[in-house]
């Protein structure tokens, strides 16, 4: 736990849960297409609340846990400095202002949906949204090469999940429990060898 030589000289502690709320609000409102890319710059470089190592450790745990990754990260950082009050402030900062914006957009869309151009615009945005999700998948695909399961097993598990959920439309519970348990057990075995 000793400070490494590459650790930035002066980490700062946020003054209050109120300051956490404001910083997380600002980050959330900058984040189009996801807030996670903004967090490192703001929390590590600008606010200096966390060292790069601390950030990476917290992020990897936030990504393993279920739930939105950036919300988990906010909870962990808030809790680290101010306990439950900090966690609540960070999470509220992340969600409150964007929630108002997105609901206002939803209301606007409801008002405009009778116009053919508005319906067309929503359709175009929907197709792009699907593309954005597929792009996220393609970024993740590259990281599977270093997965302890090995590439053939990874491709097999990914195809099974795609077929069960995307094509057969089976309920997610059974698929994640059965496939996830098998896949995790195989990874456990491979890691132990």
């Amino acid at each position: 736990m000793n400070a490494g030589t590459d650790e930035p000289p002066a980490l700062r502690t946020p003054a209050s849960p109120g300051e956490m709320f404001r910083v997380f609000t600002r980050m959330a409102l900058q984040g189009f297409g996801g807030v996670l890319p903004v967090t490192q710059r703001e929390l590590v470089e600008r606010q200096r609340w966390l060292s790069p190592q601390q950030f990476v450790e917290m992020l990897s745990l936030a990504q393993v846990l279920p739930g939105p990754n950036v919300v988990n990260l906010a909870l962990m950082i808030g809790d680290r400095f101010f306990g439950t009050r900090g966690a609540a402030a960070a999470m509220a900062g992340l969600l409150a202002a964007p929630l108002v914006v997105v609901i206002a957009l939803a209301v606007l869309a409801l008002q405009l949906q009778a116009h053919p151009w508005a319906a067309g615009a929503l359709k175009g945005m929907g197709v792009v949204s699907a593309g954005l999700v597929i792009a996220t998948a393609s970024k993740l695909a590259g990281s599977l090469r270093s997965n302890p399961l090995g590439l053939p097993l990874c491709v097999g598990a990914a195809l099974l999940a795609l077929a069960a959920i995307g094509v057969l439309r089976w309920p997610l519970v059974g698929v994640v429990l059965a496939l996830g348990a098998t896949s995790t057990a195989l990874a456990w075995w491979k890691l132990g060898r």
Binding site: G126, A130, G156, G166, R169, T184, A185
Partner: protein, 192 residues
């Protein structure tokens, strides 16, 4: 004016108590399954609100996700738009509380139990084991979002989706530009 206010508060469908409970419980269950982020549970949300309950069309479901992508903030807010379109502001509360409460309690418990165990073999195995599942679920989500629009103009829609993937992979520009371009192309009727 009165009916408009009701639509905003509890949605256009006149859901009963049992419906609200099921909405809350379904999203609560999905919260704990969202290992690869909330968006990986979108196919199951769609299965529940579109196919099983008939609360919205599959095209409206895709539009809900698209609106959230066009707005700033965490991606999980697509859940709030779905909640709003099903059950107004009460729907927002039901879906967001369901989606966030279980994962929040779990995250806080694990954080306090100790992030120092994060290199334990079981956690590494879980991480490695879930990665290919997340990939498959993301591809399924992409397909589920695309499906309602494929029938009209399959080639153009496939090209637009592929162009989006290329835009994200090969440029450093904000995804907002892709969403805005899609909106303009759609409004001009190029995807019909």
């Amino acid at each position: 004016m009165g009916s408009l206010a009701t639509t905003w508060l509890t949605g256009p469908l006149g859901l009963g108590a049992a419906d609200w409970l099921q909405l809350l419980l379904h999203f609560t269950l999905l919260s704990l399954l969202a290992v690869g982020g909330a968006i990986t549970t979108a196919p199951d949300m769609q299965r529940f609100v579109v196919a099983e309950r008939g609360w919205m069309s599959s095209a409206d479901f895709t539009s809900s996700v698209a609106l959230a992508q066009a707005a700033p903030g965490p991606n999980v807010l697509f859940v709030a738009v779905i909640g709003f379109n099903v059950g107004g502001l009460a729907g927002v509360v039901a879906t967001m509380v369901g989606t966030l409460l279980p994962s929040t309690l779990l995250t806080l418990s694990v954080t306090r139990w100790g992030a120092k165990h994060s290199q334990a073999r079981l956690l590494r195995a879980f991480n490695a084991g879930m990665a290919p599942l997340t990939l498959g679920l993301l591809l399924a989500t992409g397909w589920v979002l695309l499906e309602p629009h494929v029938a009209g103009a399959p080639l153009t829609v496939a090209l637009a989706a592929a162009a989006t993937v290329a835009f994200i992979r090969w440029t450093r520009l904000s995804p907002l530009w892709a969403v805005l371009t899609g909106a303009v192309a759609g409004a001009a009727g190029w995807l019909d």
